[in-house]
Structure formats: C-alpha cells, structure tokens
C-alpha cells in the first residue's frame, strides 16, 4: 500500500497535474481571501471557506480523475491486481496520495490568514482595551480548516470511485465535476423548498449542509462522522467495483 501511495504522490509531480492543482488552489484561495476579507473589510472567514468549497468543483476532479482511469487505460491495473496487495490496500494507497496532496495544499493556503492577524494587531495597537473582539476568530478558522479537509476527503473518495468506473480520464473528470456541482447547488436550492421531508432528505445528500457548525467554530462530532462515513462509503464502493470486475 505504501508503495502505491508513494508512486501516486510522485506521479502528481512528474506530470504537471500536481503543480496545476497546487498552483490553482493557492491562487484561487489567495484571491478569495483578499476579496472576502480584506476587500470587504471584514475579519469573518466564513464566506471565504464557502467559496473555497465551491472551487473544489474544479479542483478535486483534477486530483482524482487519473487515479484509476489511467491505470485501466495503460493496463497497469493488472500489475497492481496481481501484486501481493489487497484491493483495499490499492484503493487506500491512491486515496491517501490524493488526500495528502490536498491536505498539504490546504495547510499551505493557511498563510492567507497571516495578513488578517497582522491587520488585527495593528488595529488593536492604538486601543488600550476593547470589549469587542478585534481580528479573526482562531477557533472558527481552525474548525473550518478541519471541516474543509473532511469535505475534501469525501469529494476525493467520490472522485476516486468515479475514476474507477471509466477508463477515460476526461469522462471521469466531467462526471465528478457535475456530481460535486449538483451536491453543492442542492444546498442553495434547498433553502427555497417548503416541504420539510424533501428538505430533510436533500440535507442528507448534499455535503454542504453540515458545514455551518464548522464555520461557527464548533467541532460537530456528528458532522465529522457524517463526512468520514461518506468517504468510507465511496471507498467501499470503489473496492466493490474491483471485486465485481474480478468476479464478473
């Protein structure tokens, strides 16, 4: 499993795709951060994180589209399937490679908050004492980053599953983009639905609905469990795809 993990992580940087992902992510994050905080003179990061999640529509499929589709096209999956590695090992190796690159980039993008803190310090410097909290709320940022990483993990697992269904990278990317798009858009649409039952069902399907607590600085265990389960389900489905192919 570790060999596959290493190989995948390396291949992101042999191909341009790793650099494209990291570059695009950091540029998008920096621009959004400027626009939502500095540009609108606010310390609140919640709209920054919401926008960042929407950028995943394009960014996550970049990471996941090739994971299985390329192997299938090059027939190299035969190598992995006949090596002394379990299907779970193979799937997890690939998942963690994408996840590691994603996490790393998210953590690097946290430098975007430094200007906020330094602005806050400058603003506080003139005042002796203030009843109002001036500056970004660290707990909110911390929880939001965790939330973002969990949502990212779920999307990566989804992309991995889609990639295992096709041998065409482009098809994998397009399908993943549309599913993530629909998931995120559903949350927006959901606010305008009057029927409680439908709203309830949709809130289970779209991943965004559970993010609100994180952006308020709350580590919601049920939400953490929810995101981990979604990731687990898609990873399980991917494993099943390979088992099915073997038994089919």
């Amino acid at each position: 499993m570790f060999a596959i993990f290493k190989k995948e992580l390396r291949s992101y940087f042999i191909n341009a795709i790793g650099y494209v992902f990291v570059g695009a992510f950091l540029v998008a994050a920096a621009l959004m951060c400027c626009y939502t905080t500095l540009g609108s003179q606010s310390y609140s990061t919640s709209s920054y994180f919401t926008m960042l999640i929407f950028s995943f529509i394009i960014l996550i499929p970049l990471l996941t589209m090739k994971l299985f589709a390329e192997e299938k096209k090059l027939r190299t999956e035969q190598l992995l399937m006949t090596a002394p590695v379990s299907v779970w090992g193979m799937v997890m190796g690939k998942f963690f490679a994408a996840f590691t690159l994603f996490c790393g980039t998210v953590l690097v993008s946290c430098i975007n908050f430094f200007p906020l803190y330094s602005y806050a310090r400058a603003e506080r410097a003139g005042q002796e004492y203030s009843e109002l909290h001036v500056g970004p709320v660290t707990a909110q940022i911390f929880a939001s980053v965790i939330g973002i990483i969990l949502i990212g993990a779920a999307f990566i697992a989804l992309g991995l599953f889609i990639s295992s269904l096709t041998e065409n990278q482009l098809a994998a990317a397009v399908i993943t983009v549309s599913i993530i798009f629909v998931m995120l858009i559903l949350d927006v649409v959901n606010q305008y639905i009057d029927v409680y039952a439908i709203r309830f069902v949709i809130s289970w399907v779209c991943l965004m609905s559970r993010f609100a607590n994180f952006s308020n600085g709350i580590l919601d265990y049920s939400a953490i469990l929810y995101y981990l389960s979604i990731s687990g389900v898609f990873l399980l489905l991917t494993v099943r795809v390979y088992d099915k192919r073997r038994w089919g």
Binding site: N15, R75, L79, A83, P84, V85, W247
Partner: protein, 358 residues
C-alpha cells in the same frame, strides 16, 4: 507447484475456460498453446489472481489463489500480454516501485542489478520508459516479473512484437529461467514452445486438446513417412515401380520438373524406413536418384489437425478448401502421425475424447 483443477470461467453466457485441469511441477517449463481467443490469457489471469474463476480451484505453491491471494501472489511473477508499464517513469523508478510493491526483502541494488544483467536493460536503466522501443519495453516487463525471484513465472505471449533477434534472446532467457523457476508461457507460435518448453498444453475453445511432453510431439514430427523424391527416368515407369514397391503405400507425381528428373511424393508404411531400399532399387534400374527430401511435418500441421478435430464444421470447411490445393492428404497424414505417436506412448490425451468429431 501449480495445480489447476476443473477450472471453469464464464463471461455471462460465454464460456471462456471450460473444465481445465493440469499440474505443473517444480522447474518445469510449460507452454500454453492455442489460437486467439482459446482461453490462454483467461487461464493465466485466473492463475495470477487477476480474475476469479466461476468454479474449480487453482493453487500455487500449495496456496489457493482465491482463499489466500496475497500469500499466493508472492510466489508469482507475471508478465501480461501488454506489459504493464508506467510510461512516465524511468526504468529505475519503475523497477524500484515494483520492488516496493512486492515487498521484496532481497538487497535492492544488488537484486535489481542482477535482473538488469539478465534481461540486458542496463544501458536504458536511467531512461524514461515512454522513449523506449517495443523490444526494450517488453524486457522491462520481463524484468518486472523477475523481481523478488518468484518461484513461478508466468508470461503471456512474451515474444509478440519483437524482432527475430530479440525473439531468440527472449527464448534463451526463458530457457535459462527454467533452471530455477517454474515457467508457464502462452503463445500461438508453435516453434516457440517447441524451442523452449518441456511440455505443451494445447487449448482450444476453453478446453485442453492435448497435454504432451514436447519430445512426443516432436517425435511425431520426426517419425516421418513422407518424402519428396526426385528421380531421373521415364515418368510412367518410375511411378509404376514406386506404386508396386512393397513398403510404399502411396505415390504420386508432383508438378515440379528439374531437367529430366521428375518429383514424386511417396509415403511409406508405418515403421518402415523406405530410403535405403528405394535407393538400391533405383540403382538397379539405373534411374539416378537426384534428390530426396523429407516432407517436413511442421507442428502447425499437427496443431491444425488437433484443433480442427474439435470442431467438425471447421474441419470440413478446411478439407474442402485444401482439396483444391491438394493439401488434404497432408492433413490426413498429420492426423495419423499424431495418432501413431499417441499410441506408441501409451494412449495419449492427444486424441482423447472427441466425441464431437465423430
């Protein structure tokens, strides 16, 4: 080392492998031979754990491939039909990846060096696989299969797409590997198995048609009873003499003519070497014998005879076709030869149970 019992694989309603059983002992080189779509690759894919079987069991080194896949796979090195190469890696990176993937415990630098030595890829070691020629790619694929020095090595059509020199090299390599490994290779080229293998398993339409030692099949070929003889002399009289000579069951004039010499095709009785007595007879009559050539019975003929046997319709079509070329006699002879070889080796499986053909 390898034990396949009543292996069946269905793809939907399509039966790719139909009740195949055979065993391969340690250090044996076995060739799986069959036309395209015969089920060779499917059998190998099941053997290596890439596919599952519909029923039946496969075990490698005493480990069942389905029950204990990870342990069993440790004993197998596999080169699929299309070498599974990551084109954007260098040969070095690729081999190191495989080394890690297989959890190999041998000394890495030394082991990889040895393998590169064996398959002769040292001069491309640092190059990106994308830029390598087909022959080198194939060799990198072979190197991959050798990593970890597995006891069983399985090659699916290893010489496809190589030039003649590379083919010879690969065959030599396979023969050398057979000294300390159990090797199974599949091919549709008869010379290849003849050159390399100890044993030949012929598969057609998912069934084993023949499972014979290579010598037996080769002996069937050498046990030749047909000759192309060139004799100077009056054509009609020579033919009459040939037909009346004891020991010759069949004679005909061939179309070729070389000066005053005519070519004749003769066939001797089973177990009789007609060559010497024919020479003396001709000498007596003062008809010089200017050429005698054994009609090489290629394995192809035997192969076609065996394979056609299992599908009466195809055989019928072939017969009607070959009649126009005068090749029917050859086919018939090929069949009898195989039968003879089989009989002399204790009722072989060559023509085992082909109720269909009757």
């Amino acid at each position: 080392m390898i034990k396949i019992e009543h292996l069946v694989k269905n793809y939907g309603s399509n039966c790719a492998v139909d009740d195949i059983s055979f065993e391969v002992g340690k250090g044996e080189i076995v060739g799986l031979l069959g036309p395209n779509g015969a089920g060779k690759s499917t059998t190998m894919n099941i053997l290596t754990g890439y596919l599952s079987s519909t029923s039946g069991s496969v075990s490698v080194a005493g480990l069942n491939v389905l029950d204990n896949p990870i342990e069993a796979k440790k004993h197998i090195g596999y080169l699929p039909e299309q070498p599974p190469l990551y084109l954007d890696m260098t040969v070095e990176e690729y081999l190191i990846f495989n080394y890690n993937l297989k959890g190999c415990k041998l000394n890495r630098t030394k082991h990889l060096e040895e393998i590169c030595e064996v398959v002769k890829i040292k001069d491309v070691y640092k190059r990106v696989i994308k830029n390598l020629s087909k022959g080198y790619r194939q060799r990198v694929g072979i190197a991959q299969a050798l990593i970890g020095s597995p006891e069983v090595i399985i090659f699916d059509e290893p010489t496809v797409g190589l030039d003649p020199k590379q083919i010879i090299e690969v065959r030599n390599l396979l023969r050398n590997l057979g000294r300390d490994h159990t090797v199974i290779l599949s091919t549709h080229i008869l010379q290849e198995v003849q050159a390399v293998c100890d044993r030949i398993v012929i598969i057609n339409k998912g069934k084993i048609v023949a499972d014979e030692k290579t010598e037996n099949i080769t002996r069937a070929v050498e046990n030749n009873r047909r000759f192309n003889v060139k004799i100077c002399g009056p054509q009609k009289e020579v033919l009459a003499m040939l037909r009346s000579k004891p020991g010759i069951v069949y004679a005909e004039v061939l179309a070729q003519r070389d000066g005053d010499a005519y070519s004749y095709l003769i066939e001797s009785e089973v177990g009789i070497d007609i060559r010497k007595s024919l020479f003396y007879t001709l000498a007596e009559k003062k008809w010089p014998l200017v050429g005698m050539e054994a009609m090489g019975m290629s394995l192809e003929d035997i192969f076609i005879a065996i394979v056609d046997q299992t599908s009466p319709k195809a055989r019928y079509e072939r017969k009607t076709k070959s009649r126009t070329r005068g090749g029917e006699a050859e086919r018939e002879i090929a069949k009898t030869l195989v039968e003879d070889a089989g009989k002399s080796h204790g009722g072989s499986a060559l023509f085992g149970d082909d109720t269909e053909a009757k």
